[in-house]
Amino acid sequence: MIKLIAKKLLRLFFILIAVTAITFFMVNLLPGDAAYNIAGPDSTAEEIENIRKDLGLNENVVVRYLNWLFKVVKGDLGESLLARGLVSRAIVSRLPVTIELLVLSVLLSLMLAIPFGVICAYKPGSLIDKAVSSTAFGMMAVPVFVMGIALIYIFSIHLRWLPATGFSPISAGIFANIKSLLLPAFTIAMVEWVPLMRVLRSDMITTLQENYILMARSKGLPAPYILFRHALQPSSLTLITILGLQIGHLFGGSMIVETIFALPGIGRLLIGSIFGRDYAMVQGCILFTTIAYVIVNFAVDMLYAFLDPRIRKQMVDGHG
């Protein structure tokens, strides 16, 4: 068990090193003049020279990387050019919005994926299964930005139920806060529930053929109880994997939804900084979202053990 965790931690460590290195060297080693690209086409030679000095393009690269890494570990991501403040502070202030959006959208997509996945697996090939599965297949072809616009059109322009833009922080009341995040979260959920539903359905169909499900039926337990209490947990390993990948992606991938709905989250910070050529901020955002992604995936790996006692056992045995 300890050996296994150590192995995974080691892997996590290497990936983090790779991630920071790539983020750092991207600015320094790419072909073309990074300083010119960062400064943008309208910049003067002086501006470019300043940026080049800022990046320290003339010093030894490895030394600069180590210096930078040392600062990053201390939480110093440098200073923003535009916002005139610390990059780390800007990221921390945007973080709650992204996390809130993430949690809400994960909850909504599970609320769609689990019932539909279970119903479809219970009666595969039935009318409802066919209807749900083909709707889901069709929805896979809807990009998240199209989904966002469609939902805005339906719910805020046509029905006028929910606001299309504008974020209301928790401090302005929890109800208003959730209301302002509901449509963006629903947009993400409508796209993300599909793969979750599909893997749950196919894993659950396999589980329902297991002997212990027959045994549970022979005990005279009602079908919903068997589906949710006996079959759901053993069928949810792939679901958790996909969910973990999605959460990781959403840390950075929420930028589209944040842009559509004008939410002040990390993703929009990144986009804004790209347009503003605020390279310290861009670097900070990329670093942050990538690390968040890597760590979420690591956590999901660990979560497996708690879902399936057999894997827990393998981990313990692996120690011996």
């Binding site: 297991e210 002997n211 212990y212 027959l214 045994m215 005990k219 005279g220 053993p234 006692p309």
Partner: protein
């Protein structure tokens, strides 16, 4: 005790596969009285498990019980019961133990919960007394340290222990009928005897009826009151155990009896096998389906299906055109 606890009439079950239809159980009828045991014996694939599952309607979606089949449990036909009423019978009236104890417990659920489930659901017991009762049940099936086992998961238990847990689960709501589908096939020999003795003991204690499925004639002969021999989905011979053992009329039964290893045999006596392949149930067969493997088969056997008829005594019936002679 005028009516049987379980009465099965003309039970016929089809399995629909991609390649075609398999009639896994054909026109099976038998009666089972309270406290008695019926042994169902037959080679692998002859339809024993499908028969058991048909009785409790535990079949997969691609299997169908034909209309003419009748199953009367405790004086009540279960043909037209709703799923809810069926669940009541499954939990409380009749319980089942499956062929493979290793896979019939839920791997991600604690033993205690799997035992108490039926108590909570059917008997509406509270959590605390249910757990208490679960411990008693585990003790009753011979598990030494029930209070620890309750918190364990199936993979922490040996095969024999898991089958004991399965028996405890089956007995939890004190069923009147226990269907044991090859309860010991997956276990090693010493554990087999223990489990069977346990079942005997519990059956007498609780006055349960039991359907004991096995492919081992010897085992059925010493544990069952009556034995039904199945071949190709049909009952081909049906009689009280001693009578059948002493006086088999169907050549197939005789072959099964010969296949029992005897203690008095000198060591290294080769086991007797029945020549040939079990029938392919996909292909309809005109005559007796044992005919291709039967040394006594004549052309009537190949052309015309023999019906299950009574012997001169009315508790022994068999389906054969050329029955073996009566040894009296």
């Amino acid at each position: 005790m005028s009516i049987p606890l379980l009465s099965v009439k003309h039970l016929t079950t089809d399995i629909h596969l991609e390649q075609g239809k398999v009639r896994a159980v054909r026109d099976v009828s038998f009666d089972l009285w309270q406290g008695k045991t019926i042994g169902i014996v037959g080679e692998s694939g002859c339809g024993k498990s499908i028969l058991c599952k048909s009785i409790l309607k535990l079949l997969p979606a691609y299997a169908h019980i034909l209309e003419k089949s009748q199953i009367i449990f405790n004086g009540r036909s279960i043909n037209n019961l709703t799923e809810k009423e069926l669940n009541k019978i499954r939990g409380q009236g009749a319980a089942m133990i499956f062929q493979d104890p290793l896979s019939s417990l839920n791997p991600v659920m604690k033993i205690g919960h799997q035992v108490t489930e039926t108590l909570l659901y059917h008997l509406k017991m509270e959590e605390e007394p249910a757990l208490k009762k679960a411990e008693d049940l585990l003790k009753a099936v011979g598990i030494a340290n029930p209070s620890q086992r309750i918190d364990q998961y199936p993979h922490q238990l040996s095969g024999g222990l898991r089958q004991r847990v399965a028996i405890a689960i089956a007995l939890a709501c004190e069923p009147k009928l226990l269907i044991a589908d090859e309860p010991t096939t997956a276990l090693d020999v010493t554990v087999q005897a223990e489990i069977l003795d346990l079942l005997d003991h519990l059956q007498i204690q609780r006055n349960m009826a039991m359907i004991l499925v096995t492919h081992d004639f010897g085992l059925a002969a010493c544990r069952a009151d009556e034995i039904a021999v199945m071949y190709g989905g049909k009952i081909v011979e049906y009689a009280p155990a001693e009578k059948l053992l002493a006086n088999p009329r169907m050549p197939y039964t005789k072959a099964l009896i010969n296949a029992i290893p005897r203690l008095e045999d000198p060591p290294h006596t080769p086991l007797q096998f029945i020549e040939g392949q079990p029938p392919n149930m996909m292909i309809p067969y005109a005559g007796c389906c044992f005919a291709p493997r039967c040394s006594l088969a004549g052309h009537q056997c190949r052309d015309q299906e023999p019906l299950l008829i009574n012997d001169d005594t009315d508790d022994h019936s068999f389906a054969c055109w050329n029955p073996l002679g009566k040894i009296s």
